[in-house]
């Protein structure tokens, strides 16, 4: 346990010294300020002109803009941090140093993964809470906000693991470019083909792309498989638990994370750190 905690702490200390987190924090703070000011202007305009909308925007739209912004900033932090985290350790032989200790190799990978995930979560949570404090989500309930947050954070693990996989076999910059290329291809395919047709395809390149590089969760909601899971959950859900519309997507993402972690562990287990 101490070993994994040490790896998480090390990742934090290392990242806090990097320029990317400083740059992204300044960017997010500036973004928060600008969306807050825009929201203030819209409200002011609306109260002055009896509910008339400024440029056709209402206050709810501000929440959406802000959430999208911090989600993608966190996403960038996640990918940038993931492609360098394991790669740097492999290059400066810190991986070998840790693998000498009497723990299985997957403990090391788990420590690196949790370090990257927790860092992204803290960044995302911080700006998410700041958005709530600055009333950028005025009409959304606390439960919905929490569900929105929970749905978003589960996107990051497959991203981290896919970046780990790519970066451990190629330079960081190339793995970043390749990751975004495949991800965008995945999104384009998901947008252009009927998902039900896709899911019934027994084996194809598209399927592999989809499996390893998840598109954003909204695209998954249309699959019959997800609909079935959703219906099952809805039927068996106790009344005390609120409806979770994207739970099926979360299950998919969790399964995908487990699968990617297993693949990564398998490859790492066979990897030679000798020469």
């Amino acid at each position: 346990m101490r070993y994994i905690v040490f790896l998480i702490k090390t990742h934090f200390l290392h990242e806090f010294r990097s320029k990317k987190i400083i740059f992204l924090s300044i960017f997010s703070a500036l973004y928060l300020f600008l969306t807050y000011k825009l929201g203030y202007q819209i409200e002011n305009f609306s109260s002055q002109y009896n509910g008339k909308e400024l440029l056709g925007l209402d206050v709810n739209f501000i929440g959406l803009i802000y959430f999208g912004g911090i989600y993608f900033t966190s996403f960038f932090l996640c990918t940038l941090s993931s492609v360098s985290s394991l790669k740097e350790d492999l290059e400066n032989k810190m991986s070998s140093q840790f693998l000498l200790l009497p723990y299985p190799r997957w403990h090391y990978l788990l420590g690196k993964f949790l370090g990257t995930w927790f860092l992204t979560l803290i960044f995302f949570a911080l700006f998410f809470i700041l958005g709530a404090v600055f009333s950028l989500f005025p009409t959304i309930s606390v439960t919905t906000l929490l569900l929105l947050f929970f749905n978003s954070v589960l996107i990051f693990p497959p991203v981290i693991l896919a970046c780990f996989l790519l970066s451990s076999y190629m330079p960081s910059l190339w793995s970043l470019i390749l990751y975004f290329f495949i991800r965008l291809t995945g999104l384009a395919i998901a947008g252009s083909v009927e998902y039900s047709t896709y899911i019934s395809t027994p084996f194809s390149y598209k399927k592999i792309v989809f499996l390893f590089f998840p598109p954003d969760f909204a695209l998954f909601s249309n699959s019959p498989f997800m609909k079935n899971i959703n219906e099952f959950i809805e039927k068996n859900r106790p009344e005390s638990i609120p409806s979770i519309s994207n739970l099926s997507v979360n299950i998919h993402l969790a399964l995908l994370s487990v699968l990617l972690f297993a693949v990564l562990c398998l490859l790492f287990q066979r990897r030679s750190f000798g020469r």
């Binding site: 101490r2 200390l13 400066n92 810190m94 070998s96 200790l101 009497p102 299985p104 030679s272 750190f273």
Partner: protein
């Protein structure tokens, strides 16, 4: 008590290049053992196989009776490669404490850990470096810290790859003395080095590795001084 190291028919090749060929050796009791051979003989590869850094090889190997495929085989074992590396922002005491915590059994008290740290600090001349960050340490200081991390906790077998590189004459002397005292307490040291004169001073057994094979084993080096290592080394590995 199980043998510190048992290697049975280990072979390893990288592509077409055969590095180790049916290597077998065993150390039955705690001892100070040297692995000698020219560059490219396969010494480091053998150490890396023993420490689990190279997972695919032919044959079997055991550390303290546990197959090296099991991570627990490394529980009381340390390895120091030719250069000790760590994250640059950690201080000397933070790095040591990390290793000490992992390698010490749960029953070790804080006082015991502190006492051991003081012993190692004294042995490797690390006094006054506690709060110095790793990035500011010289090569020699890094090596000394690596040594201290190697011997902390309940380590009973240490594999050292070229341990004298980067150490000043006093550092070499400190290391030699510490290895002798470690052996007296029941520890085993398995090292490789090209400094034969130094090995003659304290090692009791030597294995000669040539073209990936163990070609000779010399016992009681110190006592059988009429056949110095240099002479054996020259006769085995002469380029003429």
């Amino acid at each position: 008590m199980s043998s510190p190291i048992v290697v049975q028919h280990v072979s390893k090749s990288f592509g077409k290049f055969v590095v180790l060929q049916d290597v077998s050796l065993s150390l039955e009791r705690p001892s100070l053992v040297a692995l000698l051979g020219p560059n490219g003989a396969g010494k480091t590869t053998l150490f890396q196989i023993l420490m689990g850094l190279i997972p695919s090889f032919e044959g079997e190997a055991f550390l303290h009776g546990v197959n090296i495929k099991n991570p627990h085989a490394r529980k009381k074992v340390s390895f120091l490669s030719d250069s000790f590396n760590f994250y640059p922002f950690y201080t000397v005491s933070q790095i040591y404490n990390f290793y000490a915590h992992i390698k010490s059994p749960p029953e070790y008290s804080v006082t015991q850990k502190k006492q051991q740290q003081e012993e190692l600090w004294e042995a490797f001349g690390l006094g006054g470096l506690d709060s110095k960050q790793f990035k500011f340490l010289s090569k020699g200081q890094r090596e000394r810290l690596g040594m201290a991390c190697c011997f902390c906790g309940e380590t009973s077998l240490v594999l050292l790859d070229e341990p004298f590189t980067g150490l000043d004459p006093l550092g070499v002397k400190d290391l030699r003395n510490y290895l002798l005292s470690f052996n007296q307490k029941g520890g085993t040291v398995f090292l490789n080095s090209h400094i034969l004169a130094e090995i003659e001073k304290f090692c009791d057994t030597a294995f000669f590795l040539k073209d990936g094979q163990i070609v000779q084993r010399i016992e009681k080096i110190g006592e059988a001084f009429e056949s110095p290592l240099e002479q054996t080394y020259s006769s085995l590995f002469s380029r003429n």
